[in-house]
């Protein structure tokens, strides 16, 4: 059984086609990476798969449920960590976990144990009672991952999980992601534009460019495919997207100011 499967999935915004005829299949326990320059359609894909955005055409089945016909079922089966901050800074780490455990209907009998487990998983047991606005960027991200696994989703969607983090904090997030796949048996679907991250974490990756699939396969396969000696994933990325450094579709002013503001907050 596949955990995420799309067929001809497309999304248009007015005249702009953000995602165009996407076909993909992700199996259980896989860590799947969606890559691409800014504006390639990665976030749009995640929004469609998490039922935030209805597709314009095509189908998507997540954890066995159709995103269009059974959105409530899909939502009960998945976890999601958006690119932006999704914890409440005015509450403590523990309170954030408690509120989401309740919202996700984690049964009362196991709630306490789950939260303790999540805090341990995030390495935040000691900081649990502190307000989240005093957390470092890495701590916030680890808390978000912990919140997303409270209800043991089958599929976990991570949108740019390490954006804005320092190298040490990134390592910690990578370790968490691997743990979720290995020990909790979750399927992970993540977007990133760090090639290093994709290579280290993902069994399979897909490179998206202008809403279409530019390339797909394991990191090794992709490196082979460009037939250059000592190929790196950076070279693969540049080869398939034609955006070696500067992305043409950087997103608009609002997106950028939002991202920067959040990065500043993550500090």
């Amino acid at each position: 059984m596949t955990m995420v499967e799309t067929s001809g999935l497309a999304r248009r915004f007015g005249r702009l086609t953000a995602v165009d005829g996407l076909n993909l299949a992700v199996g259980p326990g896989e860590i799947f990476g969606l890559l691409g320059p800014n504006g390639a359609g990665k976030t749009t894909v995640i929004k469609m798969l998490t039922t935030l955005l209805p597709p314009t055409a095509g189908t998507a089945v997540v954890a066995g449920y159709d995103v269009r016909r059974q959105p409530a079922r899909v939502r009960a089966s998945i976890g999601y960590v958006p690119q932006l901050i999704s914890v409440d800074g005015a509450l403590s780490g523990y309170e954030n976990l408690l509120i989401f455990a309740k919202l996700y209907g984690v049964p009362r009998a196991v709630r306490r144990g789950r939260i303790a487990d999540a805090l341990d998983f995030a390495g935040l047991s000691e900081a649990a009672r502190r307000e989240v606005r005093g957390y470092s960027g890495g701590m916030v991200r680890r808390l978000e991952l912990a919140m997303a696994m409270l209800h043991r989703p089958k599929v976990l969607f991570l949108d740019e999980p390490t954006v804005g983090l320092d190298p040490v904090a990134r390592q910690a997030v990578w370790q968490q992601v691997r743990l979720l796949a290995r020990e909790y048996g979750m399927t992970l679907f993540l977007t990133t534009h760090y090639m290093e991250e994709a290579e280290l974490l993902c069994g399979r990756i897909m490179i998206l460019n202008l809403g279409r699939v530019a390339a797909a396969g394991s990191p090794a396969e992709l490196k082979q495919s460009i037939q250059q000696p000592d190929a790196t994933l950076d070279m693969v990325f540049a080869h398939f997207t034609g955006h070696p450094l500067e992305a043409e579709h950087e997103g608009n002013y609002r997106d950028i100011s939002r991202t920067r503001r959040n990065l500043a907050r993550l500090g």
Binding site: A76, A90, I99, D117, Y184
Partner: protein
């Protein structure tokens, strides 16, 4: 050994009936609403300064406006002293001001990623909207305490019967829910803080003045009467006036007041639940 996914019943594997109801038999959406209100309460507990700053405005209305207008007998309010007439209006007004700007919290949550995360949770859209409404109600109730305290200090003849107090609490919750849900609709449409603040400012004063909060509807010109009669604030004030003050009378009947507020809430919740997902698009 960590608990693995297999030990927890798969969410999708449960029957539809058990999806909608939690184990206690309490509808799941109600639990979700209460959880969101709990989130608000926890935030208020951590930072209660806002509650105190919110006390300034009703204090000014009662102390300055109320005292002066009571003395000059400018507004005929029958057997009721003007200050006694005004106190329920000030309570409703301070609840209105909190509720009408409540939508900004979802714009804030949208600029973070909290709205996205809530929308991907199993909570229904209506539960998310009503949870916000209940959170606004919690803040409204805190205003109730403040206005009751002020009114009592100023010698307003209050009705302390427990049922009357309960009635006021329910009316405040309903009123806050109606206007915060209205506010949420605006937030879902305009999506930015700047535009939202502008529209909020435009709305509050007309809603306040075109109601029976400061003067009886009977004194109004006909066109304003018509507006006052479709303004939910009028019915909120009417119910509070009847329940909060000794000798306070209702113009429309408390049952009718509750019915209007409940209907307005149902209508606004329906619209709001449809628009809420727009915030994440």
């Amino acid at each position: 050994m960590r608990e693995t996914i297999a030990t927890y019943p798969e969410p999708g594997a449960t029957s539809p009936a058990s999806v909608d109801r939690s184990c206690g038999g309490q509808p799941r959406w109600l639990g979700q609403c209460l959880t969101l209100a709990e989130m608000e309460l926890r935030k208020l507990r951590r930072d209660p300064t806002e509650l105190l700053t919110r006390a300034v405005q009703p204090a000014l209305w009662l102390l300055v406006f109320g005292e002066v207008f009571t003395r000059i007998h400018a507004i005929p309010t029958g057997d009721l002293r003007y200050l006694d007439f005004l106190a329920p209006g000030v309570l409703a007004q301070s609840v209105l001001f909190i509720a009408i700007f409540y939508g900004i919290s979802v714009i804030w949550e949208r600029d973070l990623g909290l709205v996205h995360k809530l929308l991907v949770s199993p909570a229904s859209r209506a539960a998310l909207v009503l949870g916000k409404a209940l959170s606004a109600g919690v803040r409204g109730l805190s205003q109730g305490f403040i206005v009751y305290g002020l009114a009592w200090l100023l010698g307003v003849k209050m009705n302390w019967h427990p049922l009357a107090l309960l009635g006021v609490a329910v009316t405040v919750l309903l009123g806050a829910a109606v206007f915060s849900t209205f506010s949420l609709i605006i937030a879902c449409i305009v999506k930015t803080r700047e535009r939202f603040m502008g529209i909020g400012q435009i709305l509050t004063m007309p809603l306040f003045f075109a109601s029976n909060a400061m003067y009886p509807v009977a004194l109004m010109p006909d066109w304003l009467k018509a507006v006052a009669h479709i303004n939910p604030l009028t019915y909120e004030v009417d119910a509070i006036r009847a329940l909060m003050i000794q000798g306070g009378a209702t113009a429309y009947g408390i049952g009718a007041d509750f019915a209007v507020l409940t209907l307005a809430l149902a209508l606004l919740t329906t619209i709001s639940s449809r628009l809420y997902p727009n915030l994440a698009r």
